[in-house]
């Protein structure tokens, strides 16, 4: 091949994940490496990749232990993949495995690699706990000491308070507010009701349950540690049950007159791992693999939330119009919308922003509103509220789910299908991806 053959299509060939568990559930005591290895092993088994030397495995975790610096490499080495398969670790909060997918896609499109796996994992049960910065500095001084006396001197400065463990920070470092508190303000500003949030949450459980019942996940999920479905899934939940839950975010803020975000319409802390197999058309054909979708384009955006100029989780509301414009599409031209349910209200504020003339004119600098979407096309196989949200594993779940949906529908209808993935991330970031069905 010459360089003029590029860029070429990067294709989604399939995916595999383990069922997502609630923090402290069946995967307590299981490490990120355990889970990522399990997800990759399932993918290798499903697509016959034993001994295969892939172009790259790109993975990551958000809550990552310092010792896991080569988490993806160590996980891949634990699978039957050719040990000469290179890996890379990446990180972008909740958008991590959407970004690993974009990374692999870009490499394939440019001809740098012919195949790859995008993956991600997170364990809220086994999150890193650090020592205090003061103790860390004392220990470094002690380790660097040349004499026993110097070492003793360094250790002698340790105070009891230095020994307190430091768990991961629950909140945005620059504001001290948790993600839920930030979103509670956005929810109140946009006037998103409790009922609308509970309805979205219920729909997520019902759709995920129905998709499992229909066997949709049979070739996307491999059971692990006694779990065969996502532990958080409550298909039998009702609006009454969801309505009985007490609000947990925004309850202390006078600006949030009616706190509406509960444990039922917010994602729980979760454990899990996901993976997506990708390749060029030739690579897939040589192995007899059926491409499901191609990666059309991707965008990312960030908002300035630090002094409250914009809501923390609103970045996708900016990234999606940019993505659509670049591809000459209207919001309504899409057949599937996968909008990550960090909170039910995140999805609802994003949709409401696109429906708002004022937001689209003043914030997006457009002539008018993007308009509303057909809700029947939104998160049709359930999403994070039901499945759970192991941060770096969510992107991989969304990509594999959407690619399969696109392929199925395109095969049924004979019409090319387009789908959007939108993921908000901590620190005011967002990543969005456009996929298109591929059929024979």
């Amino acid at each position: 091949m010459t360089h003029s053959d590029f860029p070429r299509d990067a294709l989604i060939l399939g995916g595999n994940r383990i069922p997502f568990a609630r923090s402290g559930g069946p995967y307590a005591g299981i490490s990120n490496q355990d889970m990522l290895t399990a997800a990759l092993e399932g993918l290798v088994a499903r697509y016959g990749l034993q001994g295969e030397k892939l172009g790259e495995v790109a993975g990551g975790a958000v809550l990552k232990l310092a010792g896991d610096l080569n988490l993806t490499r160590e996980s891949a080495l634990g699978t039957p993949l050719d040990p000469r398969t290179p890996t890379i670790d990446m990180s972008k909060a909740c958008a991590t495995s959407l970004e690993t997918m974009i990374h692999v896609s870009n490499r394939i499109q440019l001809g740098q690699i012919d195949s790859g796996i995008a993956c991600g994992v997170d364990s809220a049960s086994d999150s890193p706990i650090e020592v205090t910065p003061r103790l860390r500095r004392i220990l470094h001084r002690a380790f660097a000491a040349k004499t026993a006396m110097q070492r003793v001197k360094a250790f002698s400065t340790i105070k009891p308070a230095d020994l307190a463990p430091v768990p991961p920070r629950n909140g945005e470092p620059r504001t001290g507010l948790s993600m839920g508190e930030h979103q509670a303000q956005t929810t109140a500003e946009w006037g998103i009701t409790r009922e609308a949030q509970d309805e979205l949450a219920l729909a997520s459980h019902q759709k995920l349950g129905a998709a499992y019942d229909a066997g949709f996940f049979d070739d996307l999920v491999t059971g692990y540690r006694g779990l065969s479905r996502d532990q958080n899934l409550r298909p039998g939940s009702t609006l009454e049950k969801l309505g009985s839950l007490k609000p947990v975010f925004g309850t202390k803020s006078p600006q949030v007159t009616e706190p509406s975000m509960t444990a039922g319409n917010s994602t729980p802390l979760s454990d899990g791992a996901s993976s997506v197999l990708m390749g060029s058309a030739d690579w897939a054909a040589e192995r007899g693999l059926t491409p499901l979708a191609r990666v059309v384009d991707a965008r990312s955006a960030a908002v300035d939330f630090v002094h409250g100029e914009e809501g923390l989780l609103m970045a996708p509301a900016y990234a999606v119009p940019e993505l659509l414009d670049a591809n000459d599409l209207a919001l309504q031209d899409l057949d599937f919308y996968e909008i990550h349910e960090a909170f039910a209200s995140t999805v609802l504020t994003t949709l409401k922003a696109w429906e708002s003339e004022e937001f689209c004119r003043e914030r997006l600098g457009r002539g008018g509103a993007l308009g509303s979407i057909d809700r029947a096309k939104l998160n049709v196989a359930g999403s994070s509220l039901a499945a759970g949200h192991p941060f770096a594993a969510t992107g991989g779940r969304l990509v594999a789910t959407l690619a399969k949906l696109l392929h199925e529908r395109a095969t049924e209808t004979g019409i090319v299908q387009r789908g959007l993935i939108s993921v908000c991330a901590a620190a005011g970031q967002g990543t969005v991806v456009l996929l298109e069905s591929v059929t024979d």
Partner: protein, 340 residues
């Protein structure tokens, strides 16, 4: 030490009769506090030296004296620790709060003098205004001058200003830091001048800086929350050197009549400065009002407002209302970047 008459062109303040006294080094905080706490000092009661306060029946006078320390190095490690405590990255350009704490022991020493008419520990920090003309690098050598001026009546007593001037090696003024203190309860006599004091920056205090009626405070939407642990005062003392016992622990604060420890005002001001995301390479103004003490431990809500047209960031900090107690504004901070 040497004393020399002084009347230098371009000086920030100082009258022609002012004496300037060079100190070999910056005084240590504990020594200054120990002197100030010594009951035998009898400050504020005696008639003092001939150059300073008047006798009890007349109006008190501030000493016509400046303290100066030359060639003070701005310690890189201290600046780093200061930046880290404020939640910012360690920068090579110095946080103006570092300049404040650099000069603070010198102005304290001035106020701890026997001829200073007021008791040091009764002073209430009302306002702080910094005008910084150019950035300062860590490791730079500067001169520090401190003086007190502008004694005026106030509805709760009297106010005066402690002015610290940071000068570069060619004698140019790098920054002026004006702290306005309230001396409670010393009733002003008729005939003393009154009114709003001018600041070093030559600007009138903003509307927020005028004594607010705290019952009227309606908090804005918070953009952040500070969870201030009980050791906040000790941690600021460690980087600033300011070991004033009212900040260190509930026990030491009680010994001086405060039910709980109180956060250093300049900690809250410096943290808000860091969170204002200021371009430290620009000349800037940093204006702070202290409206109510922040007790420790406690939670403070903050709201920032960016004003790009004015090149300003405004912050208000308050404690949330609880039960019958309404929310209470604790401080306002405004940082304005200026044209070069």
């Amino acid at each position: 030490m040497s004393a020399a008459p002084r009347n230098r062109a371009g000086a920030a303040t100082g009258s022609s009769t002012e004496e300037i006294k060079d100190l070999a080094d910056l005084p240590s905080f504990p020594a200054v506090y120990a002197a100030a706490l010594d009951p035998r000092a009898g400050r504020g009661k005696s008639s003092g030296g001939k150059s300073a306060s008047g006798d009890r029946r007349g109006a008190p006078e501030l000493p016509q004296l400046a303290y100066r320390v030359r060639n003070v190095r701005i310690d890189a490690e201290r600046a780093r620790d200061f930046d880290h405590l404020m939640g910012g990255p360690a920068t090579d350009l110095v946080h103006p709060g570092v300049l404040h704490v650099l000069a603070f022991p010198l102005s304290l020493a001035l106020m701890a003098r026997r001829d200073f008419p007021f008791a040091l520990l009764g002073l209430v920090h009302l306002r702080n205004q910094v005008l910084q003309h150019r950035p300062v690098q860590v490791g730079e050598l500067v001169d520090v001058e401190c003086r007190v001026r502008d004694l005026r009546p106030h509805r709760k007593g009297r106010t005066f200003e402690a002015v610290s001037t940071i000068l570069g090696e060619h004698g140019e003024i790098i920054a002026t830091d004006v702290s306005t203190y309230l001396v409670r309860g010393s009733a002003p006599s008729a005939g003393e001048p009154s009114g709003t004091s001018p600041s070093a920056a030559g600007t009138a205090p903003s509307a927020a800086a005028r004594a607010p009626d705290h019952r009227d405070f309606t908090p804005p939407r918070p953009t952040g929350r500070w969870s201030l642990a009980a050791d906040t005062g000790r941690r600021y003392a460690a980087v600033s050197g300011d070991v004033n016992p009212i900040h260190l622990s509930a026990a030491s604060a009680k010994a001086f009549g405060f039910p709980r420890a109180i956060a250093h005002g300049m900690y809250t001001a410096s943290r808000a400065f860091t969170e204002s995301r200021v371009d430290l390479s620009r000349p800037l103004r940093w204006d702070v009002t202290f409206d109510a003490p922040v007790t420790l431990p406690s939670t403070v809500l903050v709201a920032y407002e960016d004003d790009p047209d004015q090149g300003a960031v405004r912050c208000v900090g308050w404690r949330a209302g609880r039960g019958d107690k309404g929310p209470r504004q604790c401080f306002t901070v405004e940082v304005t970047t200026l044209d070069r």
